[in-house]
């Protein structure tokens, strides 16, 4: 029996449909937004409340071998954060990388209904899928790591760096083999160099030793292939030189290499640094305004911020070189794991301190990216969970954006030398509106992910809805505890409590490819992998189904 719901009298914030706080009813039936429902529909009185589409997190790290190693690495942080078993709920633990059930519950309690795992080794797809199947309440997808794939390097070299039919077919094959949703490039070429010799690739035009390709060619060829395939989400790029002073130059070169085709830049804050040339200019500084200027002139590019929040974080990345640098800075725990042919992985627990120059600068640069940008559709909210901080810190981040008084107070607590090297003290009085928050937390990410039924409340949209008490005095509290969360047309959260468990859907994408690509890939697999070509693809129905398949549109 389908549930019919009428959400009555709330202020609707649906920027994808140009609705900005209009007081009206919203009707849900059969898991979709509909024009009207019958008189017996359940009525939710939303007067005085704010109604938005369910949140969509475009970039987080929640599942797979990397997240699980981080869990095993951090029993100390989860003892104080247990999740109790109940008739409805599985038990688990929180901390910076919650157990899978806790991850699903807590995202739901925050009003999020869709989350993207942003970096999965294709070889580990079975593991990623199994964890996602144990992550309830949210629809979820994962991006497969391809920026250091030796097989793709061979195809790119063979085509002289151009997009070739074989490269397109190979990418489509890999998505079909894994159940992935999109393509992620992490430090293209650089992870391979790290695995060779603990080093990094020297700029985007340096050749990757042994492969005859450059990061620029990888960006252009794979970015171009994804674009030509028409995947729902464009290539998702963690650029070279993450965290390195002066890396904004590399980021601008990366954006330039990608320009002219759709692309998304991950955690831009970590790639927006000046300085590092020695002398008085050696201290890192912000170059966020230059990156924003470039974005303003290139509407085909988008980014998520990767805001750092003061406090504890868990850095975990496919960019193993970054983790090795942090290991040497910090001296604490460190995990490295290299995956053959495809990628690396590094994990280092980390604490961002308000009084530390570099950390405060990172915090300030993130806020600059939010506050100086002209188009919220291009710059989306993320903390690169848990790299910059937990997803549980999103409400505080939202308050920083919406409440200048609160922001000024927080600015006063941060390292002033760093803050003075940002634009935050230059009378920056911008406060995000509710509609802008709706853009950066649901409408923008959904649109960028090509999820046409998510991120908006038009007729036919998925009935994923979050209803908040309107609390202008405390936006952090407002966004921490939604009054209601509706997932797939069913009420799942009410006043901070989970009322119903939803398994959530797996989202995968599909693009057609020529089956003859097998004849190209099989010998390359035999030469490089220790898993046979035949055993590599995930075929297990229990992992692959049910799923919503989003077809490519070339």
């Amino acid at each position: 029996m389908s549930t019919e719901i009428r959400i009555s009298g709330g202020a609707i914030h649906d920027p994808a449909n140009d609705v900005d706080g209009e007081l009206r009813d919203l009707c849900l039936k059969d898991g979709k937004v509909v024009a009207d429902v019958g008189p017996d529909a359940r009525r939710i009185d939303a007067r005085g409340m704010v109604v938005m589409p369910g949140g969509v997190d475009i970039h987080a790290h929640i599942a797979g071998p990397k997240a699980n190693l981080a869990r095993k690495l951090s029993p100390d942080t989860r003892r104080a954060d247990p999740l109790e078993r109940s008739e409805l709920l599985r038990s688990g633990t929180g901390g910076l990388v919650p157990s899978t059930f806790a991850t699903g519950y807590r995202y739901s309690l925050l009003g999020y209904t869709t989350v993207i795992e942003a970096a999965a080794p294709p070889l580990a797809a079975r593991h990623v899928l199994a964890e996602l199947r144990d992550t309830p309440m949210i629809d979820k997808a994962f991006l497969i790591l391809m920026g250091n794939n030796q097989v793709l390097f061979e195809l790119i070299r063979a085509s002289g760096g151009a997009v070739s039919p074989q490269l397109r077919d190979a990418i489509a094959w890999w998505l079909a083999a894994t159940g992935g949703y999109g393509v992620k490039l992490v430090n293209p070429g650089g992870v391979e160099v790290f695995k060779q010799s603990n080093g990094d690739v020297d700029g985007i035009d340096a050749e990757v030793p042994g492969y005859g390709v450059t990061p620029r060619q990888v960006l252009e060829a794979i970015g171009g292939a994804v674009h030509e395939l028409g995947l729902p989400h464009p290539v998702h790029v963690h650029a070279n030189d993450l965290g390195v002073p002066g890396n904004a130059t590399t980021t601008l070169q990366t954006m330039d290499a990608l320009s002219g085709r759709q692309a998304h830049l991950a955690h831009l804050q970590f790639h927006a640094y000046g300085g590092g040339v020695g002398g008085s200019e050696s201290l890192p500084r912000s170059r966020a305004p230059e990156l924003l200027d470039y974005l303003a002139d290139h509407k085909e590019l988008t980014a998520d911020v990767g805001q750092v929040m003061f406090g504890d974080a868990m850095t975990m990345t496919a960019d193993g070189h970054v983790s090795a640098v942090l290991r040497d800075l910090d001296g604490g725990k460190w995990v490295n794991h290299d995956t053959e042919v495809e990628t690396g992985c590094g994990i280092v627990p980390f604490t961002y301190k308000a009084g530390n120059y570099v950390h405060a600068l990172q915090w300030g640069i993130g806020l600059e990216l939010f506050l100086l940008g002209s188009d919220p559709w291009q710059v989306m909210l993320s903390t690169d969970h848990p790299n910059g901080g937990s997803f549980l810190s999103y409400p505080k981040l939202i308050r920083l954006l919406m409440d200048r008084g609160f922001r000024d107070d927080q600015l006063g607590r941060a390292n002033q030398k760093a803050i003075k090297r940002t634009a935050l003290l230059d009378g920056l009085d911008r406060e995000y509106t509710l509609n802008e928050i709706a853009i950066i937390t649901r409408a923008g990410p959904a649109r960028r992910l090509g999820l046409r039924d998510k991120g908006h409340l038009g007729i036919g949209a998925d009935a994923d809805v979050t209803i908040y008490h309107d609390r202008p005095d405390d936006r952090e509290e407002m966004f921490s505890t939604p009054r209601y969360v509706i997932k797939g047309g069913e009420l799942v959260v009410e006043e901070g409590d989970l009322r119903r468990i939803d398994d959530g859907l797996l989202l995968s994408s599909s693009a057609p490819f020529d089956g003859d690509i097998d004849r190209v890939l099989e010998p390359l697999f035999a030469d490089r992998y220790t898993v046979s070509f035949d055993h590599y693809p995930v075929r297990d129905p229990a992992l692959r189904e049910p799923a919503t398949i989003v077809e490519a549109t070339p």
């Binding site: 690495l73 247990p82 109790e84 078993r85 688990g92 490295n336 995956t339 053959e340 075929r539």
Partner: protein, 376 residues
């Protein structure tokens, strides 16, 4: 017609194997034993027993559920031959029961807190080691016996996989025993009884100029008295050497089933090893006494492993012959007559491809039935 399968005879999970139902190709002593164990015909063996008496599966399930409902301090343990699917169902049931769940042998004293949560580690998949490591050091282990195709798969010895490493590669064995692996070493065995990892740094000095090295270790280093200290020393050595060169480790400890169950426990609960769910939430247990006595376990549910003495036990096992237990339920042998997923020693997940079929249920199916039958 030979059929392809993935051999789970050890944690290597070789997936280039074929079988005619009796033999494996390529030959492997552990693989042959694994195949024989899992393809033995059930014959007249019952599908289940209750208190040693043959019973049908439904009766056995009802009795098992009754015992679980009445247990004050149940333990779910084992997993040596379990799959990811079995482990997911077992953790779900343990959570519902408020049980202790332990991957490994609860009758043995706890081997010491693992080193990993204290400092981490540097690891790699087999292909990384095969195609990059110029130096491989085997540390007090004998993989030629315990993981017969490891060296071959890492590109050493006769019938070896081809490696992409240019130039010479060196296999060093540090051991005080005359093992089959030691006889394969490229350098004279360099094995004082002392297992102090830090003292081995000179091995790397011999390796001057090399860019990539691997240290293979296992239970001999990491368990028993001082195991945690030795493993920490190993990882400190790796950190110290990881400048200008890339150094990784590969652990041979455990079975694929235990490795896989540990991963499931970590993702569902946040902890691996031994987890107490009695309080309503997961608590990591690090007892140093035999678990069954120390925690006053009054009922054990043993999944695809050898049951322990001293406690009434429900056993789910693929073995054809019943074991002495309150309830024994025969399951389909994963890999040979049932599918399932396992994580290889380097974490790579693989789906087993059984050449045979079994009428018996998988452990995961029995556990799901027990979950329903124990619901209040």
């Amino acid at each position: 017609m030979p059929e392809s399968l993935i051999c789970a005879g050890c944690t290597l999970l070789c997936d280039d194997v074929t079988t005619d139902g009796r033999r494996l190709e390529p030959e492997c002593a552990l693989g042959a034993a694994w195949l024989a164990d899992r393809s033995a015909p059930a014959g007249d063996a019952p599908e289940a027993t209750v208190a040693g008496t043959p019973a049908d599966g439904k009766t056995a399930l009802a009795r098992a559920a009754q015992l679980l409902r009445g247990a004050r301090r149940p333990l779910v343990h084992g997993f040596a031959a379990a799959t990811i699917e079995d482990a997911r169902a077992a953790v779900t049931l343990a959570d519902r029961l408020g049980a202790i769940i332990a991957t490994g042998a609860p009758a043995q004293p706890w081997p010491g807190a693992p080193a990993f949560p204290l400092r981490g580690s540097s690891t790699a998949t087999l292909g990384e080691i095969r195609d990059r490591s110029q130096l491989v050091i085997v540390w007090h282990e004998d993989p030629e016996t315990t993981h017969p195709r490891l060296l071959q798969r890492l590109g050493f010895g006769a019938g070896r996989s081809s490696t992409r490493v240019a130039g010479s590669r060196t296999l060093v064995v540090v051991d005080d025993r005359d093992t089959a692996t030691a006889r394969r070493a490229d350098l004279p065995r360099d094995g004082p009884a002392d297992r102090d990892v830090a003292a081995r740094v000179e091995l790397f000095e011999r390796f001057d100029g090399g860019r990539h090295a691997t240290i293979v270790y296992g239970a001999a280093l990491a368990t028993g008295a001082g195991g945690q200290r030795r493993e920490l020393a190993l990882h400190e050595l790796v950190r110290r050497l990881s400048h200008g060169r890339h150094v990784v480790t590969l652990s041979l400890a455990g079975t694929a089933g235990i490795r896989s169950a540990d991963d499931v426990l970590a993702w569902q609960m946040g902890y691996s090893g031994t987890v107490d769910l009695a309080s309503g939430h997961p608590e990591l247990l690090t007892v140093t006494e035999p678990l069954i006595d120390h925690e006053r376990i009054d009922l054990a549910l043993c999944i695809e492993d050898d049951p322990r003495e001293g406690v009434p036990t429900i056993v789910l096992s693929h073995r054809a012959e019943p074991v002495d237990a309150e309830v024994w339920i025969r399951t389909a042998p994963a890999g040979v007559a049932a599918s399932g997923t396992l994580h290889r020693l380097d974490g790579v997940p693989l789906t087993l491809r059984p050449p045979l079929r079994s009428a018996a249920p998988t452990a995961a199916t029995v556990l799901a039935d027990l979950l329903k039958a124990t619901a209040i």
